[in-house]
Amino acid sequence: MSQLKIVRIHNELLGTYGDQGNAEVLAFRAKFHGITATIFDVSYNDELPTNGDIYLLGGAEDTAQLLSLEALKRSNNLNTLEMAIERGAVVLAICAGFQIMGRSFWANGVEVEGLGILDVTSKPGSKRIVGDIKTTSTVLGFELTGFENHMGHTTLGPTAEPFGKVLKGTGNGDDKFDGAVSGNIFGSYMHGPILARNPELADLLLTRATGRKYAQITDPLASKYAAWRRKVI
């Protein structure tokens, strides 16, 4: 595959915490592998494209999160996303986006049903969780860093695996883990954006999306940046 379609879902709603940069980092890293990536923005009134390779969701305020959920449940969108996952597409969902992918979450004081794609449920905690976070990822075998800023506490069900074990910060809230993984679906509370702070994760998502193993990229600035964040947090 030399063409890759990155679908950035509802950036105008899910773009409050800087996560839109994940799409840019993916496209940038893809270039090193000779892949031409296009970023396809889907806004609230649009339908999800069926042929995406990587679908991205970011963090949002409560009302924006509810609008995004409503749009994803509208017309054929949920079916499109499920079919894409079925054929191996990758999903990276951050914070509010992570909660949307789960079975249920709370927004504006009301519990709502999520998309049910990840086996997780979220509830509001007593205190907002804000600060730097570092985890060690069992999936990847290395450390991840980011910044978390959320009220929700997320609990994993039996079919979701934790994404990272928390070394610093809070993550999901009660289980000492951050995020959840199921197949090619990744959920996390890490902003930063997560792929800017952790370029190896971007490479892993590219590998998963294309089914090909790539040679390691040499981008000294990216490595220096990631290593520095891991050292200081």
Partner: protein
Amino acid sequence: MRLKLSILIAKFAALLSRKILRKSGETIAGWVLLKLSPRAISELSKGRTIICVSGTNGKTSTTKALAKIVSSLGSVTTSISGSNLDRGIAAALMAKSDFAVLEVDELHLANIIEEAKPKIVLLLNLTRDQLHRMHEVKRVADRWALSAKISPKTIFVGDIDDPFVNLVLSSASNSEKISFGGRRHLDAAVCPACGTYLKWVGNNYKCSCGLTNSGANIILQPGTAAYKNAAMANVAGKILGASESEIDERALERSVDKVKNGVKLKLRLTKNPASWSEALNSVSGSSVLLIVNSREVDGIDTSWLWDISFDQLTGKQIVVSGERALDIAYRLHVAGIEAEIATDFEAAISKFPTDSAVHVLAAYTAFYELVNS
């Protein structure tokens, strides 16, 4: 009586702070005063006209401009630059005056309105900033709107091209709604009044719930943020009876010219996506220094750097420094712009030829360090 004694002790504390710690003493004075007389802001506001200025960007400079406008009407006390929390406000109110023009932090505004009972609240704009502290833009807007609703004697003045400001003005009994012909807003995809997807046509919005920027009572020409803040200060001044005054817009840009080691610097304060975008639009010439820090007032998270378009910088010599130089360097790298990384300010300016004119976009803490150095 107790208040008078508290002020005396607070002034003594300020004196000690100045003499021993060589600090301005304002914050400590306000802190001591509020410890001794928790109702000091309310007490000291009585018998004079209070004007509050708040918003994400432009508070400090607009407060200064408005204080100058109001000074034609009587004696004025005003905030010490950037001292916009309750203790700074208490310190400003220790001086006797006919008017007090106060810069107020977004999260403190509701409390200050309740205590000081201002005649006018001027709201400039509301966009995302320091989300580690503000958490959500909507949360700040809701607090303001509630405060407006329960303050029927206060006149709320502001730019309703910003839907959040419009929500607040629409909740008030008395308001002066200003429009500059519309503008884009990065954080207002959702209607702050009803929570539906906000309908934007170009730079204007019109929600089915009725929230729209076409309902202004004052319509002014479009322009830069500095021009708008100056114009709004004049509207507030006019309500009080002051005549319109010419305002130096450069002073409202938070830009300062300096020369260091032969390099001419144009320093500009940048602290969030809105102020960065505004500042990037003003960059001319080919030499630019970007300084990013992440202390409390800068915002401890730097994710928002990814929400700014840096296209303006393509083809220029870019140097980055500050505590988060690597964050901005990598962000630019991904945008196809390569920057030189400097360990500190001295090293940064040495990368430019002598006699060159350098635009410096600096984080809050870096800006003040440079201005005061």
